[in-house]
């Protein structure tokens, strides 16, 4: 369970929701425990784990989107983003705000880079090519920088 903090950070960067972190991390590790014996190459464990984490988060975000369509009023509280100031610093609030403006795929990409994954590993995790990773990463960083405003009023 040495990975729990890293997976928690990844989940938070992907979903932008503190209340999802524990549940989704738990789901990810349960899937890991159940499927780890089917892992072909133990050296690729980290890539595999973060692919599992990414897919779990994207499934959750899809479910959340569907719930919003079918229960527009019933689960209204789910649409309310985490208030600014609920976390530690102005920079962190700004980063959360900027991440919230990006697509989940781009958030995953940036979170994987912050995890220290190489472009090749990210390409493997996301089932794409290194060139595509580089291009998407460049765009994602641009978008993040556009929305990153540490002194924004809200």
């Amino acid at each position: 369970m040495a990975y729990q903090h890293r997976v928690a950070g990844f989940v938070y960067a992907m979903t932008n929701r503190s209340d999802y972190v524990e549940d989704l991390s738990q789901q990810i590790f349960i899937k890991m425990v159940r499927a780890v014996d089917r892992l072909q190459a133990p050296a690729q464990f980290e890539s595999w784990l973060f692919r599992l984490a990414r897919n779990t988060c994207i499934d959750q975000l899809r479910r959340q989107k569907l719930r919003r369509i079918f229960l527009p009023f019933g689960e209204e509280h789910e649409n309310i983003p985490e208030p600014a100031g609920a976390v530690d610093t102005e920079e962190l609030d700004a980063l959360r705000h900027a991440l919230a403006q990006l697509r989940p795929q781009d958030r995953a990409l940036l979170a994987l880079v912050q995890e220290g994954r190489s472009h090749a590993e990210i390409a493997e995790t996301l089932d794409t090519t290194v060139a595509a990773v580089k291009a998407r990463l460049h765009r994602a960083r641009e978008h993040l920088r556009e929305h990153y405003q540490p002194d924004h009023e809200n």
Partner: protein
Amino acid sequence: MKTEDQAWRDLQAHAAAQLRAGFADRALRVARGPQDATWRQLNAHAARQLRPGFADRVLRAARAVAEVPSLSSQFALSAATAVFCLAAVIFLQDRSAQLADERNLADWERIVLSARDAQDAPDNDSI
């Protein structure tokens, strides 16, 4: 009367007064984008959301999930039950049809025997 230069300087001073303290620092931070330290804060915040005993809870939940039959095994059990029921129905249907045939044949034999008896009876009378 103010010179044009003086007017420009006043305008610049007025504009500069609108900038809040720490403007240069903020501009630099925006230009550089989020730093590694900010990402680390994000990870630390996320890590704090995990309640103590997280690993134990995961292992307990994983064991509980492992004890629940998998979807494929449930499907296999359902399929086996369906096949067994179908075989039982076919067997019973076949058996009941066979019994009905035997009963019908016995009835026919009885009818044939009765008919023969009836046919033989007038001959005896005529003799």
